[in-house]
């Protein structure tokens, strides 16, 4: 119930060397690997079974997606720099980097919005063919993860940053765990981008 101190939330357990939050987030990421794995398996099975399969460039804007890839990779390095700033006790730097991370995320979603709206304007929907079906589904699910990550990151940039005043170690660990999720989102895109757009 309330006020019960659960051990190893903030400090590592000596024999495992890990905090519970770190284990928890990695386990969650393991489940996410399997979630996106199912979608990649879907892509493979549908493509192998298709009579014809379009090249990404026939439907998709490679230039925009390349920019998005660069945006997301940038956000990944700003995220890890945000955490590194906390480790060096530089809270101002942290806010700068975390703010940049959130902005990059916004940029990514904006570009996605551009892509999607152009498709809809030209009458291309998930139901049009299986290529578009898997394209929309995978990028939308990924996009939802970007959004979720942004909400978490915004929280840690804004109201959640209060924890830095009372427990620096706890706050740093929480930012690290949020970072792990964010890097994972980048990692998924690293595979999504070539598979959907370049093949």
């Amino acid at each position: 119930m309330s006020a019960m101190e659960i051990p190893y939330t903030v400090h590592e357990r000596p024999d495992t060397g890990l905090t519970s939050g770190k284990i928890g987030i990695w386990l969650f990421l393991a489940s996410e690997v399997m979630l996106f794995g199912a979608l990649f398996a879907t892509y493979i099975l549908l493509r192998v079974g298709a009579v014809t399969w379009p090249h990404g460039r026939e439907y998709l804007n490679i230039r925009l997606a390349t920019i998005n890839t660069i945006v997301l990779i940038t956000s990944s390095v700003t995220m890890v720099m945000a955490w590194a700033s906390l480790k060096r006790d530089q809270f101002g730097r942290y806010r700068l980097y975390m703010g940049l991370t959130v902005l990059c995320g916004l940029g990514f979603l904006f570009i996605k919005y551009l892509e999607y709206s152009h498709k809809f304007e030209t009458g291309l929907y998930p139901k049009t063919n299986t290529f578009l079906a898997i394209y929309f589904t995978m990028t939308a699910l990924h996009g939802l993860h970007v959004l979720g990550g942004m909400v978490v990151n915004s929280y840690f940039w804004g109201p959640g940053a209060k924890l830095w005043q009372t427990d620096k170690e706890h706050f740093t660990n929480r930012v690290e765990n949020a970072g792990l999720f964010w890097h994972f989102v980048d990692l998924v895109w690293i595979f999504l981008f070539p598979v959907l757009y370049l093949l």
């Binding site: 519970s20 928890g24 489940s31 199912a38 063919n129 299986t130």
Partner: protein, 595 residues
């Protein structure tokens, strides 16, 4: 506070043992409804799960009427079902299909897993590892409420136009893609239920690794802890593909996509206006990738419960503990690479069919190791035949039958005549019903004193056990013969219209009468469960004289934080009848050498 009640918030039981003097009094809602205490959450899961088990059982009893007396109006309640389901009280085939699909879904996802994992896992695991609670108490609470919401969603699907899901618990496409609205609600319910399981799995694994007591190394874990630990990994890694598949099926149903719809599909004489290009087998792969590990999710906690009860009631250590643990781990791993033995009849080539046949045969080995070890553990024991032990003992041959009947299904040649027949239903019900459910009953009788401080009545327990054992076999043994005779599953009339089945139809009647008898046999249990809350004999904290921490180191019921101070473990989990010891059990946290 500090109390754990059995009725999900309606009555308060004073149980102020082990009370943390410094925590503030939370209101009614935070104590009994939105609790973050693993014991309360465990009880919520258990009660809700048992209610759904009863409901799923009732659905099946309706089906059994139709199977025994196809086309006859259901007595008493037939008229109450309404014309959309049963005009004049006679069940429509579509309603039969709803009952079938929802019986399976409810029993597996809303009954057994919540009780076995959410209920027993949540309540017992932290206690057995000497922890004050789970690593993430609020996530624990969230996982229960996701389950509850998922259950309510599923239940509500009966009341929409077209009724509940009716494409089997397996929701095969393309049928499920074009089915009525209830299927969409099924999908939404599944997403909620899967989320609940994922949150729970993360909690169980982290807690087991991080919050175990000092001295509690992995090979000192009670077998129950190991079984929950491996189960959590199965849930964590196998459920997400089904979640993805559910999203894809939802897209097909709602957004017009063709993930699972092949080109040229014709429905009711009209070509379906979709893009086509999809693959119905894709659904089967993604579904069974989860659903095979899921059956191990159904059995592993049961094995864990049986192991605890056998060790305790033989007053002997488990025989072959280490092999049992290695078998558990191996079983968990193998369970991810056998799934297409559910798909032998889908036109796979011989190479992949042989691969899956081989892995399936291999996976039977660890199960046999575990079962054999449990049986050998009885040898030379001072057996106490209390109700918990009776159910645990019955589990052994029942699971044996279930496992053995699985072998011809796992060999692809013998699967050809048996696939999708009643033989399959008989096989898996033997494992799950007189298998897992008996183990769960055993667990209720065993841990009830820990949760309530009172024992259930042994007399009522025996009245529950013996008729249940007889009736379980009465329901499912005929199904094996019915299947061998070639009668398919999922027939709304039980095969009555087939010439070849005429000689086997009497098996349907036998199963039905046994099922109704099984229902009556549960009455002593329900009465016992509630009566004992107020009138059961009060027990000492370690009622069973057990070695494991939940009995040896915590009060009955445990208070907030479970232990007065964190236990320190000094030995293995089953030090019963240690030569030279003063008593026939030495608790895991006993200090000093054997006195």
């Amino acid at each position: 506070m500090g109390s754990t009640d059995m009725t999900n918030g309606r009555t308060v039981h004073a149980a102020e043992h082990g009370h943390d003097a410094h925590h503030e009094e939370l209101g009614f809602w935070r104590t009994y409804v939105f609790s973050t205490d693993h014991k309360t959450i465990g009880i919520q899961y258990a009660i809700t799960g048992m209610v759904f088990l009863l409901f799923g059982f009732c659905l099946m009893m309706l089906m059994r009427w139709q199977l025994a007396f196809p086309g006859r109006a259901i007595p008493l309640i037939g008229r109450l079902l309404g014309d959309a389901r049963a005009p004049g009280g006679t069940m429509l085939p579509t309603f039969y299909n709803e009952l079938g699909a929802m019986h399976g879904t409810i029993m597996v996802f809303m009954g057994i897993v919540p009780l076995a994992v959410g209920g027993f896992g949540n309540f017992v695991l932290p206690l057995q590892i000497g922890a004050p609670d789970m690593s993430f108490p609020r996530i624990n609470m969230a996982s229960y409420w996701f389950f509850f919401l998922g259950g309510v969603t599923m239940f509500s699907s009966f009341f929409v136009t077209g009724g509940a899901a009716q494409s089997g618990w397996t929701s095969y496409t393309p049928l499920a893609d074009i089915a009525t609205t209830g299927q969409t609600i099924w999908i939404l319910g599944m997403v909620l239920l899967i989320t609940s399981s994922l949150l729970g799995a993360i909690n169980f694994i982290t807690t087991t690794i991080q919050l175990r007591a000092k001295g509690l190394t992995f090979f000192r874990f009670p077998f129950f802890v190991w079984s929950q630990f491996v189960t959590a990994f199965l849930l964590l890694l196998a459920f997400p593909p089904l979640e993805a598949a559910a999203v894809l099926q939802l897209m097909d149903r709602v957004a017009g996509t063709s993930f699972f719809l092949p080109s040229g599909l014709v429905v009711s004489g009209q070509a379906l206006q979709v893009s086509g290009g999809g693959n119905p087998l894709l659904w089967q792969h993604l579904f069974w990738f989860l659903a095979h590990p899921e059956v191990y999710v159904l059995i592993l906690p049961a094995m864990g419960i049986v192991a605890e009860i056998i060790a305790n009631n033989t007053r002997k250590p488990l025989w072959g503990y280490r092999s049992m643990v290695y078998s558990l781990i191996f079983l968990g791993f193998m369970s991810f690479i056998v799934w297409a033995h559910h798909m032998f009849m889908t036109g796979m080539g011989t190479r992949m069919a042989s691969f899956f046949q081989t892995t399936t045969m291999i996976i039977s080995i660890p199960s046999v190791v575990i079962l054999t070890s449990l049986i050998i553990s009885l040898w030379g024991g001072s057996i106490r035949f209390n109700t918990a032990m009776l159910f645990a003992l019955a589990f052994l041959p029942m699971f044996g039958i279930g496992g053995l009947t699985g072998l011809p299904l796992g060999l692809n040649v013998t699967d050809i005549p048996l696939h999708d027949t009643y033989y399959v239903i008989g096989h898996f019900h033997y494992v799950v019903a007189p298998g897992t459910i008996f183990a769960l009953f055993a667990g209720v009788y065993y841990w009830y004193p820990k949760a309530t401080g009172r024992a259930m009545s042994e007399t009522l327990g025996k009245w529950h056990f013996w008729p249940s054992l007889v009736c379980m076999n009465g329901v499912f043994l005929p199904m094996l013969f019915l299947g061998l005779a070639g009668v398919s599953r999922r027939l709304a009339d039980g095969g009555a219209t087939y010439q070849f089945a005429q000689g086997a139809l009497h098996y349907n009647k036998a199963s039905s009468f046994a099922a109704w008898g099984l229902a009556v046999a549960q009455i002593p249990f329900i009465v016992n469960f509630f009566w004992s809350l107020k009138h059961g004999a009060k027990t000492e904290p370690n009622h069973w004289h057990a070695t494991t921490l939940e009995w040896a180191a915590a009060p009955s019921p445990p208070g907030h934080g479970n232990f007065k101070e964190p236990p320190v473990v000094t030995r293995g989990p089953y030090e019963y009848s240690v030569p030279g010891a003063a008593t026939d059990f030495t608790p895991q946290n006993a200090t000093g050498s054997a006195a």
